[in-house]
């Protein structure tokens, strides 16, 4: 270790607080995202209990509003996004043959800002004025200081602002990682589909989140500093908020669903033992969806009164998105066609995804027809539609990905029997919950209302929906039991546990060592590992001799930077300028330290690699 700098290696809790290893950050994202998923799921079940019979008084109307606001906000920003980031962190660098991400330090900063933002938002439950209750879209004037007194919406604004910063940082990190860190031979058109979707998702994050940042700043100024952005009596405009929110919000929908498309592509191809059908058209469709995603935001606002010309344009643009999405559906079906399909739990989730997502897409096109939308708007039909794409699309995709990559992340195989039980309970529960909601909406049940009267024909279907929600809860619990059971077993997953692994992550041990690749692999084609298998090679050809590997040093600074933002957020909300100052000083102080002290990192010697049993 001639030129290695002495770097302190932490263990235990300090290791997790200071880690800059993308695989560990992936696990941190998974744990905290999973935790928020459970909170959001609990809120959902409470909503469904309230609605199981007419005129129920299980929760008060105010609590119901808080529950539905926090359910939506938590699930989108604090559960779905982080679990997507968990898989991106754990898998994307491995799929492109990189030793690390481009910005390990920023990666850790992204996680901690998300985490503290989420914690801040959820602390609102324990305040005297309660959680935000203006819906996850936080429309003004409902969210304005006049109609939302108390601190609830302030928690929404500042919590999302802080966690949004983390997401933006994470997006930039993945863009640069995928552009600059690919292994030799890994050209863009050889990248696995999941990496492609991660790339486009990151680009959407980069261009959509700044709009949310501005929207939240404006709402914060209105609420905390007497601004007039959204106050009509002072010349402000309430429709402006809707525009800004959906200019961010619609790309956000694609930010969520594209990675699920990528996961499904990987799994369907692996378990059909076939090359993904129409790879280049898949890439094209992904890029096109990302592009069109920015031009359709006003389809959330057809009933605002934008006029027939605008409504028609946005209607057509929205329907256009069905074309690339249809390309993807057909490609998955043609990949399955004639393949030797294995129905592992991961593949069950993936195959279950396809028809479910098609149903969500079809109702999407129905909603895209502006005149019809005037009927569907703000009814349970909309609720059914977006749960079909987000739960039936994204969550099934995430479950599929977790079951597929679990051995690569943790070195242990999930129990297949329990996993299949998870699939069936969750899948049946899902359709029970949301299928009937289409009809509830069509016969006139409005969304976001805490109860309904007897004798309107809503009773039976609401009961079915509640039973389904409980079944989904059971499915989630079975998954948690599976995780617990698996954690007790020895770490013995082989490098390629599904035997038919096609991409680079299956060429290295499970779980991946901290340097990922002892020698950077040479990529000779699409489905790099599969190509070597077909050519009769045992593994990847290395692109470089064995040498010392440079690693970044762990750092506690990201944790404190985010803690500073957290303290600053509270200071702003309660006008405690001392706390604001302390928080800002902490954040900027950590930035100062990061800039002044160079991170030399450390080296892992080739001898050390051999000790750890790297096979040549």
């Amino acid at each position: 270790m001639a030129h290695a700098h002495a770097v302190k290696r932490y263990s235990g809790l300090m290791d997790w607080l200071t880690t800059v290893d993308h695989k560990k950050i992936g696990i941190l994202y998974l744990i905290s995202g999973g935790f928020f998923f459970l909170i959001g799921g609990l809120e959902a079940i409470l909503i469904r209990i309230q609605l199981w019979k007419p005129m129920n008084d299980f929760v008060s109307p105010d609590t119901y509003n808080e529950l539905l606001t926090m359910h939506g906000t938590t699930m989108i920003f604090l559960a779905a996004m982080p679990i997507i980031f968990a898989l991106m962190n754990a898998i994307v660098p491995l799929q492109i043959g990189a030793r690390d991400v481009a910005f390990p330090f920023l990666n850790s900063l992204g996680f901690w800002t998300f985490f503290f933002g989420g914690v801040l938002l959820n602390i609102s439950w324990f305040t005297s004025t309660g959680a935000p209750a203006a819906g996850w879209t936080s429309y003004v004037p409902l969210a304005s200081p006049m109609y939302s007194e108390g601190q609830g919406v302030d928690f929404y604004v500042i919590g999302l602002q802080i966690s949004g910063l983390g997401t933006l940082v994470g997006g930039i990190n993945f863009l640069v990682t995928i552009i600059n860190m690919r292994a030799p031979g890994m050209s863009f058109m050889r990248m696995p589909m999941f990496t492609w979707t991660a790339f486009i998702t990151s680009a959407l994050i980069l261009f959509a989140f700044p709009a949310l940042t501005v929207g939240l700043v404006a709402l914060m100024f209105d609420r905390l500093f007497d601004g007039n952005f959204f106050d009509p009596s002072s010349g402000g405009n309430v429709v402006l908020w809707e525009h800004i929110f959906w200019i961010f919000g619609h790309p956000e929908v694609y930010i969520l669903i594209l990675p699920a498309f990528g996961i499904i592509s990987e799994i369907v191809s692996t378990f059909s033992r076939k090359r993904l059908f129409g790879y280049s058209s898949m890439v094209f469709a992904t890029v096109l969806i990302g592009f069109l995603g920015f031009m359709v935001w006003a389809h959330h606002m057809f009933t605002t009164g934008l006029g027939p010309v605008a409504n028609s344009l946005f209607s057509i643009a929205t329907m256009l998105i069905a074309v690339p999405t249809g390309i993807k559906i057909f490609n998955w079906l043609f990949t399955l066609w004639g393949g030797s399909i294995t129905f592992t739990s991961a593949n069950l989730f993936a195959i279950g995804f396809i028809p479910t997502f098609v149903m969500g897409g079809v109702t999407g096109v129905m909603l895209a027809a502006a005149p019809a939308d005037f009927q569907y708007h703000d009814s349970y039909f909309v609720v059914a539609h977006f749960h079909y794409v987000i739960v039936g699309g994204l969550v099934l995709g995430l479950f599929a990905g977790l079951h597929y990559w679990w051995p690569k992340m943790f070195g242990r195989m999930l129990n297949e029997g329990l996993a299949k039980l998870t699939f069936w309970t969750f899948y049946i529960g899902f359709h029970l919950t949301f299928f009937v909601q289409h009809f509830l909406g069509l016969i006139g049940m409005p969304r976001r209302v805490y109860t309904y009267l007897d004798g309107q024909g809503f009773n039976g279907m609401n009961l079915v929906s509640t039973v389904g929600a409980i079944l989904m809860g059971i499915g989630t619990i079975v998954f948690l039991i599976n995780v617990a059971v698996t954690a007790a077993k020895p770490k013995n997953a082989p490098a390629d546990p599904w035997v038919d692994g096609r991409t680079l992550e299956w060429s290295i041990p499970s779980p991946a060592p901290e340097y990922n690749f002892a020698q950077t692999p040479l990529v000779r084609g699409y489905d790099a590992l599969w190509k070597e298998k077909m050519d009769g090679n045992k593994g990847m050809t290395p692109a470089e001799p064995l040498g010392p590997i440079h690693m970044p040093s762990p750092s506690i600074l990201p944790f404190f930077m985010s803690l500073g933002l957290f303290i600053m957020g509270f200071g702003l909300m309660y006008h405690q300028w001392i706390f604001t100052g302390i928080g800002a000083a902490l954040t900027f102080g950590c930035m100062f330290l990061r800039s002044v002290y160079d991170d030399h990192g450390f080296h892992i010697d080739p001898d050390e690699l051999k000790d750890k049993g790297v096979k040549a």
Partner: protein, 205 residues
């Protein structure tokens, strides 16, 4: 990795791109600027949507004084030029010239900030406060965001000057300076749109 580039004891021509870390930093910063374009674009859109909602406050014609804006523009434009000279000095591996040009840039940045603070105080005095109207709120938010970017840039470049004194020009400090230069140009580019869209168009009516 810094060791590798110092093998021959001399800095490469473009030291900011000599290491993978440097190239990552430059690319990542460019993408960040792409995001900043959307950030300022949203602020401009909000301003454009609300600029006619003046209520009882003073109108843009009464408020804006073009000579003041012209001076601020000249200062910021010149500082952008001096930061170009700084990067050129860096490419010539001339640390003294680099530091001097950066110092000039920082001084001009402070000059711009001083003018802006004076301007805001003057406006507030004329009854154009943050809460006066939707126009005033969106004006202060847009121009204030830009001012905050200038303030951050001034502090950042000052910190880099201190580091250049202490650590010298290396493949670690060079990407930082290069990226700060990009940032400074971007702040200037945003100002070009601010003086055109906010001040000049406001004066026209």
């Amino acid at each position: 990795m810094s060791e590798l580039s110092h093998v021959d004891g001399q800095l490469p021509h473009e030291p900011e791109k000599a290491t993978l870390e440097g190239r990552n930093k430059v690319l990542g910063f460019w993408l960040f600027l792409g995001g900043e374009v959307v950030l300022f674009g949203t602020l401009f859109s909000v301003y454009l949507a609300l600029r006619d909602q003046i209520l009882d406050g003073p109108t843009p014609q009464e408020l804006f004084s073009l000579p003041l804006v012209a001076i601020a523009t000249l200062i910021l434009l010149t500082s952008s030029l001096t930061s170009v000279f700084a990067i050129q000095a860096m490419h010539r591996n001339n640390r003294t010239a680099l530091i001097n040009w950066l110092i000039v840039t920082v001084i001009l940045g402070f000059g711009f900030l001083g003018l802006e603070i004076y301007e805001f105080m003057h406006y507030a005095h004329m009854g154009h406060e943050f809460s006066t109207s939707a126009f005033s709120t969106s004006f202060y938010t847009l121009v204030g965001f830009h001012g905050a970017h200038v303030a951050f840039g001034v502090l950042w470049i000052s910190l880099l000057i201190a580091q250049l004194f202490k650590k010298g020009l290396t493949v670690v400090t060079a990407p930082k300076v290069y990226v700060a230069g990009l940032y400074w140009h971007f702040v200037d580019v945003v100002w070009v749109f601010i003086f055109s869209v906010v001040y000049l168009m406001g004066k026209v009516g």
